[in-house]
Symmetry: C2
Subunit: 316 residues, 2 copies
């Protein structure tokens, strides 16, 4: 078999690909010259996972890559009808981001429960003002999203004594169906968004859903910005429908400096970093090498995306 | 038996004591009139646990209270040689603060690992700047203090995948002796102070110990301020001997507005609130009522302090 051509869509070159010398002919593309190179690729590594180039350039003029791997958990930026309906296999970076994101969510919850933002502000002012925190253990959380990230969040919160309900598209053992979401959200202290972005989930967190939440409840989004109607969230926090929120992802990233979300009291804004711990790019590179070996040897790949659903289904 | 006289040292009256009507003659004292009332008390509830009045007023002129209960975990403010050598039983509020403090420490660790203070500062400036966090899972923590608070911290961190070593006065199953502290601190990513304040622990965290820590390590104190030589900690953080710290307790509380600790980059200052969650005063009141019932009935009390050691020994 001829040496396959691997096309790498990247803004910064990924590490470790030199290990493929002799096993792949590697070509690098950026957003500008990506479309021209796509047809000649056997495999595509989407290293620049913030790019929309794949969705916009697909289909090319010639044979498609037979395999697309994205160095991300979400595949929403890739998928277009032509790719969904093709035979091309799509894989994702499942296994890299779960624990870091679960830690991030746990940390945000405790920080909000203990008013760490208020503490830091008082520290700036050299003011000693004792306050009482909430106990996270015994509180109730709904994790929206039953994929590996949602489940990692749920597991960590359970270890802290939080009562956790997980919701997914359909009910199955340990997972409530989407039809239970309204009921669960109504009684929750925490609503955590870790769902894949699909047509079914886009803008699911809207005024109606925030209106179901308790005034003492808080919302955290580590999924995708487009899961949330940002104007509705801004209103819900500003008007005290809910007690607070933390957003790590946004409809448009980077968040515009003029966006009013930066300035909402009780709302924490972070720059899409929940899953990114030191060494993550190296881990993503290593993961891709492992998948490449399997693919080049004609073996089955893990982390295969159900393109119609828009995520990697869980089997358990 | 005559109705016992219960003296309550308080700044704000505690809840629930009305339930003792008929079972106790309750007298309230503040720091000014405490010494005069002490000799006539059969039992003493130290509700104002920030007061030094007990240590300063003991011994009174007459018979001592036979029982002293403090609404705190630490008993360092109470104990004086005369009380230590008396027959008076001292009990503490074990069971109330453990989980809240464990959550607080966990939250501080994740907040520091993910640079939440930096995120909040960037938010103030409307600046989107992606950073990579540390993973808490897999990191190494030393918890100094093998009492119920130290153990609750250790248990919660272990649930997050942290490698935890606990040190106490003497080695026993699951606890390293104080002679192992230097070695453990040298390899730790986190050093967490949850020790009782005794003659053996006072100012134990000094330049020598901070000098053993890794430059990437962080220090958290939720025990007592006097465990730390604050000037040494200030220097260690300022000079980069260690990467950061979080102090919830201080040599002198409230921390003076002019104290330089407020302004050290990488140092989080909070106002002695780690164990205080909404409802905590009510829980402390309920706990005292339960103990009072036992005491009035002549039954053995739980949470009895080993006055010579300065804490409630763990039996396991």
């Amino acid at each position: 078999m001829a040496v396959p051509t691997l096309l790498v869509l990247e803004a910064d070159p990924p590490p470790r690909l030199g290990q493929l010398t002799g096993r792949a002919t590697i070509r690098y593309a950026n957003e500008e010259n990506f479309a021209a190179q796509l047809p000649s690729a056997d495999a595509l590594l989407v290293w620049d996972f913030l790019s929309d180039a794949v969705r916009l350039a697909w289909p090319g003029d010639g044979p498609r890559p037979r395999w697309v791997h994205t160095a991300s958990a979400g595949v929403d930026r890739l998928l277009c009808p032509e790719l969904i309906n093709s035979d091309t296999v799509v894989t994702n970076a499942r296994g890299i981001f779960e624990k870091p994101i679960a830690e991030y969510v746990t940390g945000l919850m405790i920080a909000m429960a203990k008013d760490l933002p208020g503490t830091l502000e008082l520290q700036r002012q050299h003011r000693w003002r004792h306050r009482e925190g909430l106990q996270v253990g015994g509180s109730r959380a709904v994790v929206v999203g039953a994929g590996p990230i949602g489940r990692a969040i749920a597991d960590m919160l359970k270890a802290l004594g939080v009562e956790v309900a997980v919701t997914g598209r359909t009910a199955r053992p340990g997972v409530h169906g989407a039809d239970q979401l309204d009921r669960l959200v109504t009684g929750a202290d925490w609503v955590i968004s870790a769902a894949p972005l699909t047509d079914a989930t886009r803008h699911m967190f809207d005024a109606r859903l925030f209106g179901l939440m308790q005034p003492s409840a808080r919302f955290i989004n580590v999924g995708r910005g487009q899961l949330v109607v940002e104007d509705d969230l801004l209103a819900a926090v500003s008007k005290g429908w809910i007690a607070g929120a933390a957003l790590d992802v946004f409809e448009h990233e980077p968040l515009d400096p003029a966006n009013p979300l930066w300035d909402v009291p009780g709302l924490i804004v972070s720059p899409h970093m929940s899953g990114d711990t030191i060494g993550w790019r190296d881990r993503l590179g290593t993961q891709f090498l492992d998948l490449y070996e399997l693919w080049a040897d004609g073996k089955p790949l893990p982390n295969v995306v159900d393109k119609k659903r828009g995520y990697v289904p869980m089997h358990d």
